[in-house]
Structure formats: C-alpha cells, structure tokens
Point group: C2
C-alpha cells in the first residue's frame, strides 16, 4: 500500500469509536480543518464542506421565500445593555459570549457581544417596523454566523465556538398565527431532513422545563446518531408575548386598538451537516445523498493504451449529456492515477454514483453504474443516460433513507419503570418511550444516573396517552401520567 | 397632502444635497436603518436592501463558480499574532480593528481581531492544501462580513464599520497565471456593474503608491457618482509572491522542484449597492434596473365599484402569466389605497415597470405600461404579456445605462497643466485625464490643494501615451510623461 492509498482509507471504526471515526471522515474527505493555534473551538469549512451548507441553504431558503419570509442582515455586535435587557425579561438567558472591548486603539465605553443569537437586536427593529395589523405577519430571517464561548471539545459542525446558521424571527396578530408559523417552520425542517438529507426524524416538543428561555413552546426535530445519541436537529419556538412585551412589539388592530403581538423564532445550524455526515458515512469515508452531493456522478474511464482514445471519447460524450441535463458530473480522466485509486478517492469523498466505462461498455453501448452506499453494480444502456442517472439517484436516496429508518425504528423502545428505562438506555442507547407525569424531577433522576434526558414529548395530536382514560403511570415516579416522554442521551 | 403622502416624497435635492438626498432615499425606500444606540457606524440591512445584495451575490457567484472558484468559510476572528505576521511582511498594513479580549468570563491570553480582511488566516491554510502543481490553480472565496473600526460619518453601504463583501483568494504556478486571474475577476466586476447594475465604469490600475499593501498591482473599476466623485467599485490584486513567501505557499513543480506560488485576491463589497442607489435614483425615490429589482413589475388595477370585479379578474390573469414566466410581479389590489398613492409608493420603492389596468384596458384587451425612470407610458396588447414585459425590461435597462453613460462621458475632461487640472476639478468634479510622470509627489500636490487623487491609470493596452513617441509632459510637474492619470475626488 502506498502512502497515498493509506491516506484514502478510514482507520477508525464507526461502531466502536464513532467520535474518532467521524473526525477522520471530516478530515480525510476535506470537509473541514481545525482552526489556527490559539483558536481552539473554531474550524475552517473547506470547499467540499461549504458546498453542503450551500445545498442546505438553497433548499431551505427557497421554501422560506415561498412562504413569506424575507432575508435581512443585522449587525454582528449587540451592546451589552441590549443583552442585559433580554436577561431581565427572559429567565435563564445568560449565554457565554465573545466580548469586543476595544475598537482600533480605543477602549469602548460599552462592551459589545458578538451575537450569540439576535433576538435582542432584531426585536427592537421589528417593534419600529410594525405599526398596524396590515404590517403583520412580519417575517425576517438571516443567514449568518454566531459565537458561543462554550469550552467544550471541538467537534466539527456539532460543537464549535463559531457556527453558521439561519435565524428566523416573526410577529403575528394572534397566538394561533404564531403557532401556525412555528409548526410551518418545523415542517420545513422535517422536510429538510427527510427529503434532502435522507434522515428520518422524530418530531415533538421539548418538555416545559427545557424550552428556549422566554418561549411558550419549543418544538424540535430529533435525529438518531450511530452512537445511539439523539441530535436536536432544528428548533422552532412559539415565543408567546414575552419578547413582544419586553421589546414593545405592538400594533393597532382593525378597530384601532393597540395590541401586543405574538412572536416566533426558529433556526437550524450547520449541525445538520454533522448529522448528515455521521448518519450515512462508513469506513470507506463520506456517503452523501445525490440531493446535496457537490459531485453527484463521477465517470471513471478504464483504458489500455490501444483503447484510450475511444474510451475517453465515449466518456466525454456521457459527461456532456449529463452536464447538459444539469447533473453535477466529473470526468476523472487523470493519467497519473489508476482506476482503483480513483474508486477509493471518490468513495472517500462521497460521490453517490460512479460510472465505469471501459472498452466493453463502448462496444456494447452500455454503462456500468455503481452505487456508493453498497457497491451495487448495474449495467445500463448508454441511451437516455440522464433519465437513467436520475432514477439511480432516487434509488441511492431510497437506500440511504431506508437504512437510516431501519436503524431509527429499531432504536425506539418502550419502558414502563425506572429499572427498564435505565437498563434499556444503558444497553442499547437510542430512545426510550415512557409515560411521564410531567415533573422535571423525574427527568433529573434519570439524568443523574445515566446522563439521558427527555429530548422530546410528542405533540398532543400524536400522543396516544393524552386525553384517553388509559390509566398509565409515570415510568419514573409512578404517579398518573397523561403524556409520553422520549428519553435519550443527547449531543 | 396627508401624512402618508408626505412620507412618500423625497424632500432633499439630488443635485444640491446629494448626501442628504441619498440618506433619505435609503431610509424611505426601506433599504436600511441605522444601528442601535451605542453602535454608530453600523446599519441594519432591511429586506428590500438585502434583496439587492442577494441579486449581486447570485449574479457574481454563478460567474465565479463557472470559472473555477469554490466557496469556503474561515473563522471570523484572527489571532493578533497572525495580523502581526502580516504587518511584518506587508508594509503599510495596519488596519483599525475590533478586538475581542474576553470569552465568557475569561480574559483571553491573546487578543482576537474581528476580521478586517482574511489574507492572514486564509494564506496559512492554502499553504497546507497546496502540495503539488496539480493542486494549482487553487481558488477559494468567501461571502462574509468584515469590520474596520474607522471613525467616520456613517453612510449606509458606503461607509459603515461592518460591511458585507466577498473576498476571493487564489494561488497559481506562474505570475502570468496570477495576472490572468486578476484580470478575469476585474472583467467579472466590470460586467457586474455594466450588465447587472446598469453603471458604466472606467477600468485600470491604481498608481503604484496606492496599491493594496503587499500587492504588485491593484486593478480597479471606478464609477462616477452624481456629486462628481469617483467610487472604487471593486478591486482585484495581483499579489506577486509577497504573501506566498510570507505564508510559505509553495508547490513541487512537474520536475519535483519546490517553487513559490503567485497569489491574487479580489473583492467587492455592498458599496456597489450604494453606487447603484445613488446613480439611478431621483427625487421620487429609488430607481432600480429590472435585473436586480426585488419587484420587477407592479400591477395597479384602477376600478370603480361597478368595474371592480372584471378589472381585478383581468389583472389577476396578467399577474399569473407573468409569475409563470418567472417575472417578480406584485398585484397591488389593496382596497384602502387609491391608485395615486400606490403609484407614488411603488415609485419610491423603485419598481421599474408599472402596469395600469382599468375598464378601458379590459375592454380593448390591452395594458398600459409605465417606465419608472422617466414615466413614459405605452399601451400594449394583453397577448404575450411576458415577452412584452421582457422587452420593456430591456428598454428600461437601456435608458438607465444610457443616462449614466452620458453623464460619465461628459465628466471625463482633459487637462494639460496644473491650473487646468485644479480649475476643472474645482468647477466640474468628475475625472481629469492628464499625462503623468509617475511621481507620487505630483499627486500629493493636487491632493493638498483640492483633495483629489489619481483614482486610476489606464492599463498599458488602453493607454495611448505608452510606448509612443508623443512628447507629452506631466500635467503637474512638466517632466516627460509616458502614462495617463485620472484625477478625481473619491469616496
């Protein structure tokens, strides 16, 4: 094995050392590098990694715009007094932030926080812009980076001091309007995961004691990672009137009465890329669904010196057809690498579909297609190559989704008492579904013993326990229970 | 006049108080607001303003990607030691920056600069990523915000402490490769101005004493503003080997020899939006070319109670046709506003084309189209409305471009001696073209007396003086001159 080939292999085990394996995939597939010395917690997002973020942006941004959202951009700094104001009205809001204290050679009179989230600077402007009920609903969103100065081990896309995200902020006439907005955005996040990233998710709300500070309800989509932990994939908050009251977001209604608005906020960060990479990839490297892969198809010509010309010409024709059809295709015609090396490299980089073309394919007017996730190899006619490729994209997507769904389905287990909850979480990880009395203490008890928490409570409509006369009792304390809770260890 | 109508008018004069007029257009057209108290120099980019930035991004980003550029994202903070390293190697580099000195409750050991530009953090990574000549050219770009702590009067999009931009950074095998890159990006910026923003520009290079610190050549596109000053519209730098040497960007060539790369950087900021707004707008408000207008067409139905239904139905059909054709169209069917109010409002907001539909239009199967820049009104058939509208977009674009071009052409004046240079700049502003000996002192002399500088020197191929045996003499000192200089007051 040459050095080059060694560099292409993943040496860590996905099932045994998930964290190390993940870090190795991120590095070797060229997705991200660690930040410079003196800046632990920061990463450099390399082109192949950033292209994935652009794919997420393109998908979500189009959905947002189709549903009334406008993008804007607010300053990256927030005066300390603004954050203080938020702290006063919002119990539990006390982010660790990076502080700008000097501008040029001057000491600033007031410290400026690098935004950890922008409620406190956006709300005062929404307050200015909203006058009448005709200005509502008002929806603004920004794509930006935020900084939270938390001292934890760096894990690219999962745990970094600076991260990319979008944050949407809206104001509505009624609580129902705000609730519809909250759920619309959650639906769009669910669709991002399920229809773009090939990751099935569980949807529900955070328990009351774990809502976003100041929010009435925090909704979430949760994704299962291969190490059995749950990732909070995106959140959408019904903020009630707490922010509107604090920041004076009022409007005159149709009867010229002054009323307080109802607001929401919702966001997804590049953590969804972490979930994407971790869910599908394997010990050959990155695995991506064709929906987001920067290169969807790689064509590898296989020639001897006497067939070089005809094979290359045929391959170029195929590449042209695919490019004309809008497929992101690369023809790997490098002379200095052999086909085996190329196969390994493109597998490492997560190209979902490989087309192999040798003299046989040319002679028979065919193509050999190989699916990245499982190496399945299929011979197809050269004709209608773009339709053929599109249908293989669908197959590859379906394979990835089905595998993730099978894992998720197998990882949701019921438990009725404390010992079973702890035993199941300890042995299998994943989710444990149990009736719950609603008391935070019951979560605390589990958390203390096994570091798992209630990551999600199904919505009322989805919760079979609610409003029935099942006589269920809380899996932890034994008191009567009307709701279901999902316990899991969490990122 | 009601309060509402007053709010729609621009009260400042474009020709007499350009600065105040500009600020009023930005505010009343809802493009930007000033930052919060304690944050002078910052602005909030409102949805209509941000949509213009997105239009610029979409146009440029597609060009970049078609020509080999990949997007990436680097940390927003740069350790002080990295900036110091750049200062040591790059004479004249000493930006005023915002300093992060505290993270959470801790004092940082090393101050972190909020990026003023990213050469010093990107170059060390390019150094790691480039190994062989096969890795070249390497081109990365990021769209981000940067901060420069300069204490000047705030002018949205022109002078703000934080601004949005893109910065491209590339490495090449040869100086020629880097020069081609420099010019390719300048061409793309020129095309952004001329083909997207309807602003003709002058292109050339900065005089040697005014290149970007560390650069071999700085190229620029310059746009004329209505107050007779020049705006540096975008710059593209051939950095030679200075950054590559300082940051160790080397590669092994085809003969396995270690060589130093040649690098470039290039960027355009949201200042191009300032130029856009200032060039075309008038005393009714914002004027935009259809290429970038968030709303390209507004349909205003004009009805009495007995014609309400038929007019509205006809208008909806037109709106649907345009929307299906991909036109950004708005049907303004508000009951509570009369057509005159609507006309004023959409003129203020810079909608390039208005379609008026009343009972006459319905009866005759026609439409009345009104161009924003000059109020020209044209009756057209209802049939093929989307083709008709596209051709009116072209007309509107051509009108805006022609007006700007006429202004520019009239503002370039020749001068052969000091008195003429000073007199012409003093009387007319604009550009003064004069033979120049190449000495910085000659610029200094003019600058001292009238605050104008050499904003541009035409490229060698465009410079009629170069290499000829014209016996020209420098307009300032009278020494022999081989190059032409363009003097102007500058933003």
């Amino acid at each position: 094995m040459t050095d080059d080939e060694q560099e292409l292999g993943i040496t860590e085990s996905k099932s045994h050392d998930t964290g190390d394996w993940y870090a190795e995939v991120v590095r070797k597939a060229g997705l991200a590098s660690y930040g410079p010395e003196g800046m632990s917690g920061f990463i450099v997002t390399r082109p192949r990694g950033y292209a994935l973020w652009e794919a997420v942006q393109n998908a979500l941004d189009a959905e947002f715009k189709d549903t009334g959202v406008q993008n804007a951009y607010f300053p990256m700094f927030i005066p300390e007094s603004y954050l203080e104001r938020e702290k006063e009205v919002v119990e539990g809001f006390d982010p660790e932030v990076a502080w700008v204290t000097q501008g040029g050679h001057e000491q600033l009179e007031e410290r400026l926080a690098v935004r950890p989230t922008s409620e406190s600077i956006i709300a005062p402007y929404i307050s200015q812009w909203v006058r009448s009920h005709r200005d509502l609903p008002m929806r603004v969103n920004q794509w930006c980076s935020v900084v939270r100065w938390e001292a934890t081990e760096t894990k690219p896309f999962f745990r970094t001091k600076e991260f990319l995200w979008q944050e949407g902020h809206t104001a509505h006439e009624t609580s129902e309007g705000a609730w519809e907005e909250t759920m619309l955005r959650l639906d769009q996040y669910e669709s991002l995961y399920e229809d773009v990233l090939a990751i099935p998710v569980l949807r529900g709300q955070k328990p009351p004691h774990d809502t976003f500070p100041g929010a009435k309800t925090t909704t979430t989509v949760e994704a299962l990672m291969p190490d059995g932990k749950s990732v909070q994939g995106a959140t959408s908050h019904h903020l009630g009137q707490s922010f509107a009251e604090a920041f004076d977001i009022t409007f005159s209604d149709a009867d010229e009465e002054e009323r307080v608005a109802h607001t929401t906020s919702w966001g997804v960060s590049w953590r969804c890329l972490g979930a994407l990479i971790m869910t599908h990839s394997d010990e050959q490297g990155l695995v991506l669904p064709p929906t987001v892969a920067p290169t969807q198809v790689v064509i590898v010509p296989i020639w001897q010196s006497d067939t070089h010309e005809e094979v290359l010409e045929y391959a170029e024709g195929v590449a042209d057809d695919l490019e004309d059809a809008g497929v992101r295709v690369e023809l790997d015609d490098r002379d200095e690498r052999n086909p085996g090396f190329k196969f390994n490299e493109h597998e490492l980089n997560g190209v979902p579909l490989r087309i192999e073309i040798g003299p046989n394919e040319v002679e028979d007017g065919e193509l050999t297609l190989v699916h990245r996730p499982d190496g399945e190899s299929i011979v197809e006619d050269r004709e209608d190559v773009s339709d053929t490729v599109e249908s293989h994209f669908d197959e590859v997507y379906a394979k990835l989704y089905a595998a993730a769904e099978e894992t998720l389905d197998g990882a949701v287990r019921e438990a009725d008492d404390r010992a079973e909850i702890l035993g199941t979480l300890g042995r299998h990880g994943g989710y444990v579904e149990t009736p719950w009395c609603g008391d935070e203490d019951c979560e605390a008890e589990i958390k203390e013993q096994i570091a798992a928490e209630i990551v999600m409570v199904p919505f009322e409509d989805d919760d079979e326990l609610l409003g029935t006369d099942h006589e269920e009792t809380c899996g932890v304390c034994g008191d009567p229970a009307e709701r279901t809770a999902y316990f899991a260890k969490s990122y």
